[in-house]
């Protein structure tokens, strides 16, 4: 008998719920990524996968293997921690690269006031 068959219903149901939730969010994020048209919109879709998509899968995995091994297993949370910590690096780099490119081209993806590097003196008024 595989160890999976020994898992009682009370554990199997929450595990299944979290796995399906995580997988669904990741799928919706991926679909959104494919369907959205502008680059900046596309930055948002994958964050579904890196936030609750990952989080929910991690919770399910920790629950399942903690139960099978009979001790608390938290390895998965290290993965989650590293994903949360490293995603901003790539996303910010991509976002800033797109901004640089759009500014250089004077692209209409940017609102009028963002197309040029702003004069710092003008900003001090905008802050008030």
């Amino acid at each position: 008998m595989s160890p999976l068959a020994a898992v009682p219903l009370a554990v199997a149901i929450p595990v299944a719920f979290f796995v399906v939730l995580g997988a669904t969010l990741t799928l919706i994020g991926a679909l959104g990524f494919a369907r959205l048209t502008s680059f900046y919109d596309r930055l948002h879709a994958p964050t579904l996968a890196t936030s609750w998509g990952t989080g929910s899968t991690i919770i399910a995995s920790a629950l399942m293997f903690s139960f099978i091994d009979g001790r608390v297993i938290l390895h998965e949370f290290v993965i989650g921690f590293c994903i949360v910590l490293t995603t901003p690096v790539t996303l910010m780099m991509l976002g800033r690269a797109a901004l640089m490119r759009d500014r250089a081209e004077g692209s209409d993806a940017l609102p009028e006031d963002m197309r040029h590097n702003r004069d710092p003196a003008a900003d001090t008024h905008a802050r008030d």
């Binding site: 579904l48 938290l74 949360v84």
Partner: protein, 161 residues
Amino acid sequence: MSRLFPHPVLSVALVFLWLMLTRFSLGYLILGTALSLVAGWAYSALHSAKPRIRRWSAIPRLIGTLFLDIIRSNVAVTRLLLTEGRSGRQSAFIRVPLQITSGNSLAVLAIILTATPGTAWVEYETETGILTLHIFDASETDHYHDVIRNTYEPMLMEIFE
């Protein structure tokens, strides 16, 4: 002591991660401690400014707020993605003047905003302290202004500044 442990928080976190990923035993504890010491020295050679955490008590509150916020915005973005093309959603750039200036609190704010679906960090101007964000749903502009300025900024200031 501070020459040996230039970054105590980083070193302790690394030992903790090491023990979590391997299994707890004396051998792994010694190996992990040695590695985290070397990592601490390497990090202080790269980045000598030491992060100062003033109030540890605000950290669980920050994590709790972030957790609820992530759930809320996951629901919002999922709904918008599923109705894409029919909901008339528009995205927008917003500019938020920030009061926080230290590198550490800005880094944590960047993690918070990126981890929350619906907001993407685009640019921060050091001279003016203005942060440019791209938000997925332009109708939530006021909400994000409010959350950043009245929820996250005061907490980050309490922790770091």
